[in-house]
């Protein structure tokens, strides 16, 4: 790290980096959420189903965040675990209107939490109960009870937070991102 970088950091001008992994079932709105958080000039208009994964960068008030936007399709879900080691935070996106697949989301979440690379680390998890605008959508409280977030014992070293969101308008996104960047900053500062 160059001298100017150090200086800038010391002065608080340059933000610290953090990696987060964005996971969730297909069609839950992961890419749309990331797209909304990106700076205006890099926003895309058409959101198509992600193949494999894409890497996006955006900034919150405290951090510069690199997001690994994973594809949620069944055949790509086994790619998620390859990025568990690098990530410092997890964003788990849920389609609140898809009641049928809530069990699938829970199954994937359980697999993620029981993964050896995740289970014994302190990693903040942010849940977006997305698609709140859809008529059949259920509340974030209902989502957290369906996913049994309170009961997961692993949550002891996993601070978590659930936000109702609408990725089309951006409602609720900033609240969640501020929470996770606070958490990430604590972890990064703590590790130094």
């Amino acid at each position: 790290m160059g001298f100017f970088d150090k200086l800038a950091k010391w002065l608080g001008l340059k933000k610290k980096d953090a990696n987060v992994i964005v996971v969730g079932l297909d069609n839950s709105g992961k890419t749309t959420i990331i797209n909304h958080l990106k700076p205006k000039e890099t926003k895309s208009h058409d959101i198509v189903p992600t193949i494999g994964f894409t890497v996006e960068k955006f900034t919150s008030s405290a951090l510069s965040i690199t997001a690994f936007d994973m594809s949620g399709q069944g055949r790509y879900r086994n790619l998620w675990e390859h990025y568990y080691t690098e990530c410092q935070g997890i964003i788990f996106v849920i389609d609140s209107s898809d009641k049928l697949r809530m069990v699938v989301a829970k199954e994937e979440l359980d697999q993620l939490l029981n993964h050896p690379k995740i289970s014994n680390r302190r990693i903040p998890i942010l849940f977006f109960a997305n698609k709140m605008d859809v008529r059949e959508a259920i509340s974030s409280v209902k989502v957290s009870s369906l996913l049994q977030l309170e009961q997961i014992e692993n949550m002891k070293n996993k601070p978590w937070h659930i936000c109702a969101s609408n990725a089309l308008t951006g409602e609720g996104l900033m609240e969640g991102v501020e929470w996770i960047s606070d958490q990430l900053r604590d972890i990064i500062d703590g590790s130094k």
Partner: protein
């Protein structure tokens, strides 16, 4: 070759792990859905990538019949159906964009086509010829030449003779009261008499392209023992095939314009294979050659690639090749209610799902039971496929009107052979058999060439052995040398053993009285031996009274005098006091 597996208790503990392979997505025990496998379909009917569940609800069987569409767990739309539905399929009937499939509901003699969840078209099956006598009778009623009593009598006579009557006549004969009969005749006598049949089964067949969203023909089986193939655009009958019995299950492969094959299970317990390249004109009976006769009535027919799976009423599932050869039979623990194919291409898994009368759903991969799902109620409707956005969903409806939806876990795999019956694994391991040596080969050759002389030599030696044995036995009888007394008055058994390694031995004489109730007394044991070699401590043993059946042991020590390692026989005698000859 066909094999019948013995009815075996399924290893429940092992298979209930199978329930961990499925996620319980939804369970509504009171969904009030009364339906059968034939009336359930999964399709992307709005062309939005969110597949819907289309169910024709049988209601109570006489009213409340509905076509229900589920989007996720919610009912999205309901359409009333006038008559009892017998089949639901979805198919593409045009090439318009967006590619929305049509829903076809078979009900009575009609097929109702729905597009975008709205009624679109009604197809009526071609009418059949009316019995001329029956037609004449109704005409006479219309012209009031005969009254209803004559009509009734004549119709009853016709029915007794086995004539096929129209629905109107049958209904008329069902009526009991005279006023009812009169009113019925008066209402209906002016409408023309028609004989219509009823659809029993419904399937689809791609017309000229094998694509997922290619235009499909409808294949219909009817109560009048025929099969119709309908053109999807003009709704005209393309092909008619007559069968010897009423078709109940259809399985179609191929393309109508290229080559196709229809496997039909009929109510007479036969399965016919109809091929397009046969002469399928009316009256032709080429297809009768390809007939599989079942032992029992079929309750389900599924086809995976080139094998046909048939569930029958005698609690068995049979598997046949497309040529009609039986491959295997599996006996099930309960009777089958319905069958469904599980085709999961992304895992390359194809199996048959069977719903049983004991509230279980069994999954078979070929003849191996790989999974059991236990349910709270008897499952009557099964469908596996894409639902919502999930590829591997199993939809089940129960007898009590419940709806169950299970999703296969992403990383679930079905182990094929671990829980199956059949030969144990050890039977398949190859034994380490040593290579044949030259000696072995030569010996085999010699045995092959001289088989007869070898056999003769062996027989001769065997006879000699027997002769020698007989001689020795006779000799020993003469000398009283056998260990069993030949005197009928003193039945005794003698047995002598020598213990020790020398020079001192212990000689034990076991004496048993083998008579039933006669005790022996006044017996003496003595020995004959070479006095130069052995010294007996007690050469004379007094035997007490011998109780029948008991074993008495007498022992004495013997010392060998020689140090040259030579030995000699020692004879044991049992004597009776006052007699010269040993017993």
């Amino acid at each position: 070759m066909s094999t019948v597996d013995e009815k075996q208790e399924p290893p429940i503990e092992q298979l209930s792990h199978g329930n961990e392979k499925w996620l319980n997505a939804y369970y509504d025990p009171v969904a009030s859905l009364y339906t059968l496998t034939q009336c359930v379909a999964l399709s992307d009917i709005q062309a939005d990538g969110d597949w819907k569940l289309v169910i024709a609800d049988l209601g109570t069987g006489s009213y409340d019949m509905k076509l229900k569409v589920y989007k996720g767990t919610n009912v999205m739309s309901e359409n009333a159906i006038i008559d009892l539905p017998t089949g639901v399929v979805t198919f593409y009937m045009d090439v318009n964009e967006p590619r929305t499939p049509a829903v076809a509901v078979a009900s009575g003699p009609y097929i109702y086509i729905y597009k975008n969840l709205h009624p679109y078209f009604k197809f009526t099956l071609p009418t059949l010829d009316v019995n001329p006598v029956e037609l004449d009778l109704w005409n006479q009623v219309k012209e009031e030449k005969i009254n209803i009593f004559v009509l009734r009598e004549m119709l009853e006579g016709m029915r007794a003779e086995g004539a096929v009557l129209t629905v109107r006549s049958l209904r008329f004969l069902q009526l009991q009261d005279v006023p009812d009969c009169e009113a019925f005749a008066n209402i209906y006598k002016h409408t023309p008499l028609r004989r219509q049949t009823v659809i029993t089964c419904l399937a689809t067949m791609k017309k000229s392209l094998a694509d997922e969203d290619a235009i499909s023909c409808l294949v219909i089986g009817t109560e009048s023992k025929s099969i119709y193939v309908l053109d999807p655009e003009a709704f005209t009958v393309l092909t008619t095939i007559d069968l010897p019995s009423v078709p109940v299950f259809l399985s179609v492969t191929g393309l109508y314009d290229v080559e196709y094959r229809i496997v039909v299970a009929c109510r007479n317990g036969c399965i016919y294979t109809l091929k397009s390249n046969y002469n399928l004109k009316r009256g032709s009976s080429d297809y009768l050659k390809h007939c599989i006769e079942l032992n029992s009535q079929p309750v389900g027919l599924e086809r995976i690639n080139k094998t046909i799976y048939v569930g029958t009423m005698d609690e068995t599932m049979h598997c046949f090749t497309s040529k009609g050869k039986k491959v295997w039979t599996v006996k099930l623990p309960a009777s089958i209610t319905t069958m469904e194919t599980m085709d999961y291409p992304s895992k390359g898994f194809k199996g048959v799902i069977l719903a049983l009368n004991n509230c279980q759903v069994h999954l078979y991969k070929e003849k191996y039971l790989v999974n059991i799902i236990s349910t709270e109620d008897i499952v009557t409707g099964l469908k596996f496929g894409r639902f919502g956005r999930e590829d591997a969903t199993l939809v089940m409806t129960t007898r009590g009107g419940g709806l169950l939806i299970k999703i296969l876990k992403r990383n679930a795999t079905f182990e094929e052979k671990d829980i199956s019956a059949g030969p144990p694994a050890a039977q398949n391991t190859k034994l380490n058999v040593p290579k044949k040596t030259k000696l072995f080969v030569d010996q085999t050759m010699r045995e092959r060439e001289n088989a007869v002389s070898m056999h003769r030599t062996f027989q001769r030696d065997l006879y000699l052995l027997r002769l020698n044995t007989a001689r020795e036995y006779a000799k020993s009888l003469e000398n009283s040398m056998n260990p069993i007394s030949s005197d009928p008055m003193e039945p005794l058994k003698l047995n002598a053993t020598v213990q020790g390694i020398g020079p001192t031995f212990k000689l034990t004489v076991n004496l048993q009285n083998t008579s039933l109730n006669q005790a022996s007394s006044n017996l003496i044991i003595t020995f004959q031996y070479d006095e130069k070699l052995y010294v007996f401590k007690k050469a004379y043993l007094q035997v007490p009274l011998l109780v029948p059946g008991l074993n008495y042991a007498f022992d004495t020590l013997v010392e060998c005098q020689s140090d040259k390692g030579i030995s000699d026989n020692v004879k044991v005698f049992v004597l009776k006091e006052g007699k010269v000859y040993p017993l």
